[in-house]
């Protein structure tokens, strides 16, 4: 680094000009560069996968990485607060983070908000306060969602009485709470409807309007929540308003959320228990709408192994329940996701911070990307 005070004043401007223009070259021919360049994000792509890290044991300042699954490279990172959740626009290059902070990091005044982000710069644009707070749990996707056409944002809340905070993203306005006693999480369907899982093993479907007047319809209980509950993480077909749930023992339930009256359209089994295998991990399943296939992260184990990492992915026809193939993973992983396009990529994430990218048809390992935070847990594959 030259000491500018030793350079004749007249030359300083020349040097600065060259550096700014990025035009100069050293005697050896290596171009002198400007350090002022800030890259922007490429446009949203089906092979961009987001990795959220709740950052144990820190917890207060967390982050999400964006990874290009084709190149196997990190594209950028965003900060987030305590046990945050992300949701992605289908219409614009933007996304939202629901997050929580304390004014003195671990103490002081609590504030909860939805932060609006621009995709191109990964920069925060605006904060929409959540005056009633949000559910604080080790981050799980179905606690925050955007409805179709970006009509509403929904943030599950627990004080511990359960409500859903509704936000109008188009007017950056918190609208209020919808109370659905006892039921948890949000599985959106359509522009102004969402489902919730209830403690008796049923689903509630909530249709609402701009006044937050809600019509709540319940299914009959369809699983035993005490002995064989379904995981909270589910796999949605947003176009068809279907949500697939899987239970600890491998029973699959297809929920039809296409009308105000929710129903269970289909039930089948992975038939894995008899083989000594179970679905598990933090995110045990994913759905690809182009091939109408379901992907399950599997491990060898029995009862109460539901958070064990898996080393195989079993791929099923979502309509027939037939197993199409088994993908052997190169290590143990705790979350699974798939791209939403026809040229499908499979993503698996380990708690140690490694993301693996596979060709979802051939099962070929394409990339492994490490050091994605301290304890990453959650994958997002925006539907584009």
């Amino acid at each position: 680094m030259p000491h500018l005070h030793k350079v004749p004043f007249a030359l300083r401007g020349v040097m600065a000009g060259c550096i700014t223009m990025g035009m100069a070259a050293t005697a050896s021919g290596v171009e002198i560069e400007s350090g002022d360049i800030v890259k922007t994000m490429p446009k949203p792509d089906p092979h961009h996968v987001w990795v959220y890290d709740p950052d144990f044991p820190n917890l207060t300042t967390t982050q999400a990485f964006v990874v290009d699954g084709d190149k196997g490279e990190v594209l950028g990172m965003v900060d987030a607060g305590y046990q945050a959740n992300l949701a992605f626009s289908d219409k614009e290059a933007k996304f939202w983070i629901a997050e929580t902070y304390y004014s003195r990091i671990t103490r002081g005044e609590r504030s909860d908000m939805v932060t609006v982000y621009d995709h191109e710069t990964l920069a925060p644009q605006e904060e929409i306060p959540l005056p009633e707070g949000r559910f604080l749990v080790v981050s799980k996707r179905p606690n925050f969602a955007v409805t179709d056409s970006d009509r509403y944002l929904l943030s599950f809340n627990s004080t511990p009485a359960t409500t859903v905070s509704v936000i109008d993203p188009n007017n950056s306005k918190y609208m209020g709470e919808i109370s659905v006693p006892g039921c948890s999480h949000v599985y959106p369907s359509g522009e102004s409807r969402f489902a919730m899982l209830c403690p008796d093993g049923s689903l509630a479907s909530v249709s609402f309007d701009d006044t937050l007047k809600a019509d709540i319809q319940r299914t009959q209980p369809f699983f035993d929540p005490e002995t064989d509950p379904v995981f909270e993480h589910a796999a949605a077909d947003r176009e068809a308003d279907k949500v697939f749930f899987v239970s600890y023992s491998g029973n699959v339930y297809e929920a039809d959320l296409s009308s105000d009256l929710p129903g269970i359209a289909n039930t089948w089994s992975l038939e894995s228990d008899s083989q000594g295998w179970r679905p598990g991990g933090w995110i045990p399943l994913a759905y690809n709408p182009a091939h109408e296939e379901l992907y399950f992260l599997m491990h060898e184990g029995g009862e109460w192994t539901h958070k064990d990492a898996g080393n195989q992915v079993w791929v099923f026809d979502a309509n027939t329940g037939e197993r199409n193939r088994v993908i052997e993973l190169d290590a143990d992983y705790s979350a699974v996701a798939v791209s939403q396009d026809r040229d499908t990529q499979l993503y698996t994430l380990s708690g140690e911070g490694t993301l693996a990218v596979y060709d979802a048809q051939s099962g070929e390992l394409q990339h492994t990307i490490g050091e994605l935070g301290m304890t990453p847990l959650v994958l997002y594959t925006p539907n584009r």
Partner: protein, 174 residues
């Protein structure tokens, strides 16, 4: 063995009612009645090396060292063990606050062969201790069955929602 939900809630409620203000008790029982409480949880692989073996019997657990993940009371714990952070299985480290709410589990004592109801109470109000991560999964249910879920930040009713560590208080025979 497992307890049915009502029995579990009733016993845990009775225990908590003994030591709580009416306001806290009402808020907690309200939560349970509504089926949505909260609890702290650690990432799966975070405690991976220290995770308890699934379906572990009494032969795999011990009653001597409460800093170890196979200590018998930790069968459904998820978090940093308070005994490694300046507390004990039934007390919080200095400067933290025990949450009046908790999740519950049923653990087998290897000495007397009996099952006990364990209240996993989070100690709150500081950043995470980060020591002795331990994950137990026996009887652990998803967050919509909140009272048996160990992922929730169980700091409801504490001065703030910052999770520090998890205790494991015996509250009765199951």
């Amino acid at each position: 063995m497992t307890l049915d939900f009502d029995t579990l809630v009733e016993r845990a409620s009775r225990f908590l009612a003994n030591g709580l203000s009416r306001r806290h008790f009402l808020s907690w029982t309200g939560t349970i009645v509504m089926g949505s409480a909260v609890l702290p949880l650690l990432p799966i692989d975070r405690s991976g090396g220290k995770a308890r073996a699934a379906e572990s019997g009494a032969q795999d657990t011990q009653d001597d060292d409460d800093t170890q993940c196979n200590y018998w009371r930790y069968c459904a714990i998820d978090g940093y063990v308070c005994s490694c952070c300046g507390g004990t299985p039934s007390s919080c480290p200095p400067g933290t606050s025990p949450a009046p709410t908790s999740w519950v589990g049923t653990c087998l004592n290897p000495v007397d062969g009996k099952h006990y109801l364990i209240s996993y109470r989070d100690c709150c109000g500081k950043g995470s201790c980060g020591r002795c991560a331990c994950l137990g999964l026996e009887g652990e249910l998803p967050a919509y069955r909140a009272q048996k879920n160990n992922d929730i930040i169980w700091c409801y009713g504490a001065p703030d929602m910052m999770y520090h560590c998890s205790s494991a208080v015996v509250i009765g025979e199951a």
